[in-house]
Amino acid sequence: MTVMEQRGAYRPSPPPAWQPRTDPAPLLPDAEPYRVLGTEAAAKADPGLLRRLYAELVRGRRYNTQATALTKQGRLAVYPSSTGQEACEVAAALALEERDWLFPSYRDTLAAVARGVDPVQALTLLRGDWHTGYDPREHRVAPLCTPLATQLPHAVGLAHAARLKGDDVVALALVGDGGTSEGDFHEALNFAAVWQAPVVFLVQNNGFAISVPLAKQTAAPSLAHKAVGYGMPGRLVDGNDAAAVHEVLTDAVRHARAGGGPTLIEAITYRIDAHTNADDATRYRGDSEVETWRGHDPIALLEHELTERGLLDEAGKQAAMDAAEAMAADLRERMNQDPRLDPRDLFAQVYAEPTQQLREQQAQLQAELDAESEGSHR
């Protein structure tokens, strides 16, 4: 049969049946960020949990102000403050079980500390005496990650590996609004959904990527809506409502642990401080906006709720403040000691075994060090 004869015999038919692979409706975030404090849902919240969140928030705020002060005293090279975002930081740490893993960005030292990392070790990166100051395996906190969103695929891979090994471990990855524009954000969410990995993504939408507002970052209805494109649920939550963030995170972690796959959570919050101490926020935003957000402060919101319900009195507030001051005093004292520096550490752990070339370079450095110390003894 010739081609023309085949064409003559051609009978158009409809293509194979098509239907969406997932029903998008259940994946859509709510129209409004979820709130607990000041709503009917607050009555159902566990008083013990609320009090614990409060103590951690107060401690977290003090940690932020103390670390910022340390930059002014030259004890920290830089500090990206999470002031105003403490509800997200603290809830992230508290929503996880011991065996779970946290994947923080550089702004999440507080989350690492709330999970148990030693405050000084958590600040090693920002002091500049080493990169990661803690053993990630000790508290299952991955190194603070500077290249944006690159820690998200790590969280997916770890969660996937845990599931392959039969461990019911969940990974929680933290990222900012700016990070959602990165390719690694996309790839991580896609892998997570395809693999149904037990991982939760928490986007702290604090309004700015250094100076660039969200409107220049995305045209999506919300960052939580991005979840639908990957086939995972998106949740919107008031990021300054510690009880709400904790509840949404806990639900997502439970869902992931039960084999339900990943969740993308967008927490609406605000970066009260500049990007870091080296940034000047007055160049790109007005005071009134900051003041508006100060009126929706995570500590004040929870304090109001606890006080209204008779769960917190002046003595309770004082106790939280005293604990925070003790932490700050300890941090101050330890950070005021010069870190131990050994230039020979530079060559340790580049490889499991140093190469011949590194051994030679290490010997060169040693000779320089010897000459230096000889010179100083003269």
Binding site: P136, T150, G157, D184, Q356
Partner: protein, 334 residues
């Protein structure tokens, strides 16, 4: 396991066997990448692995190289030993941020508490008639990144031995597979336990007294051919196969150059900023008083990789190598 006597095998078969044996020996070894599962890889190097070990051990990933390597980092953090396939040299570039910012430095930045035993297999180099983006020699990028090992086999036996060693290594290894040698054949016994080669040792492939050709990967057979052709000119060339660009085996290379007094570095990668510059400098620094002539480089031109119908003009061939050997100041001897 059946005993396999010495018989001809291709480099691709040896690589497959290395992956299979590594997976059989160690349940933490996981193969992942684009098309590595059902299809067995575009070069068929992962053929049969998904069937034998299941798709959880040999996984078809979404098509995203940063995601592949990034998730492999997380898997390694949890104690697995991922073997990642980048489908082609130029397709590996999206993964560079993960490679440079995380894979290469995780051990160092965590003071050794979090090593990443990841093997990244990258088919590389030209000579197979590939269209644009399928023939790059990207080794200089990897060499310039501290924390990575960079390994490349030139023989069937080395393909097996070096890949086994790479997977067993507790450090990340970029394992560069010369595409045009995938179908090269050699007699090879996969049951020989000595076939697992240590990473970081070069080997003299051909002994000679006149000059040393320092090369690796796809250029090794070209240099051996050039060495045979050079006999007509009265030159007895030694050929050193580096096998590992990082760590670099100064000892074997310099011992050869000190014997011969002359050296040419041969590779497909561009000469400017390429591996040859580093190698020539290392040889000159260490063997200056043994050298009868400057160390020369025969490299690909400093151009974007050419279209397939022109690639033979770009790739270092026998004539260009012999021309360089001819410029090693032999006049001084006569």
């Amino acid at each position: 396991m059946t005993t396999v006597a010495l018989k001809p095998a291709t480099m691709a078969q040896a690589l497959t066997r290395a992956l299979r044996d590594a997976m059989a020996d160690d349940p933490s070894v996981h193969v992942m990448g684009e098309d590595v599962g059902t299809l067995g890889g575009v070069f068929r190097v992962t053929d049969g692995l998904a069937k034998e070990f299941g798709e959880d051990r040999c996984t078809d990933t979404p098509l995203a190289e940063a995601g592949i390597l990034g998730t492999a980092v997380g898997m390694a953090m949890y104690g697995l030993r991922p073997v990642v396939e980048m489908q082609f040299d130029a397709f590996a570039y999206p993964a560079f941020e993960q490679l440079i910012s995380h894979v290469a430095r995780m051990r160092n930045r965590t003071r050794g508490t979090m090593p990443l035993p990841i093997t990244i297999r990258v088919p590389y180099g030209g000579g197979i008639g590939g269209v644009e983006h399928h023939s790059d020699s990207s080794e200089a990028y990897y060499m310039a990144t501290p924390g990575l090992h960079v390994v490349t086999p030139a023989t069937v036996a080395d393909a097996y031995g070096l890949l086994r060693a790479s997977i067993a290594s507790d450090d990340p290894v970029v394992f560069l597979e010369p595409k045009r040698l995938y179908w090269s054949k050699d007699s090879w016994n996969p049951e020989d336990p000595q076939s697992v080669e240590p990473i970081g040792r070069a080997v003299v492939r051909r002994s000679g007294r006149s000059a040393t050709l320092i090369t690796y990967g796809p250029s090794v057979p070209v240099c051996l051919e050039a060495a045979e052709a050079a006999r007509e000119e009265g030159w007895d060339l030694e050929v050193v196969d580096l096998r590992s660009l990082v760590p670099f085996d100064d000892e074997t290379v310099c011992a050869s150059v000190r014997r011969t007094g002359r050296a040419v570095v041969v590779h497909e990668s561009g000469g400017f900023g390429g591996p040859g510059g580093e190698i020539a400098a290392r040889v000159t620094e260490r063997c200056f008083h043994h050298l009868e002539a400057p160390v020369l480089r025969v490299a690909g031109f400093d151009i974007p990789y050419p279209p397939p119908m022109l690639e033979r003009h770009h790739l270092p061939g026998v004539d260009r190598i012999l021309d360089a050997v001819g410029r090693l100041q032999w006049e001084a001897e006569s």
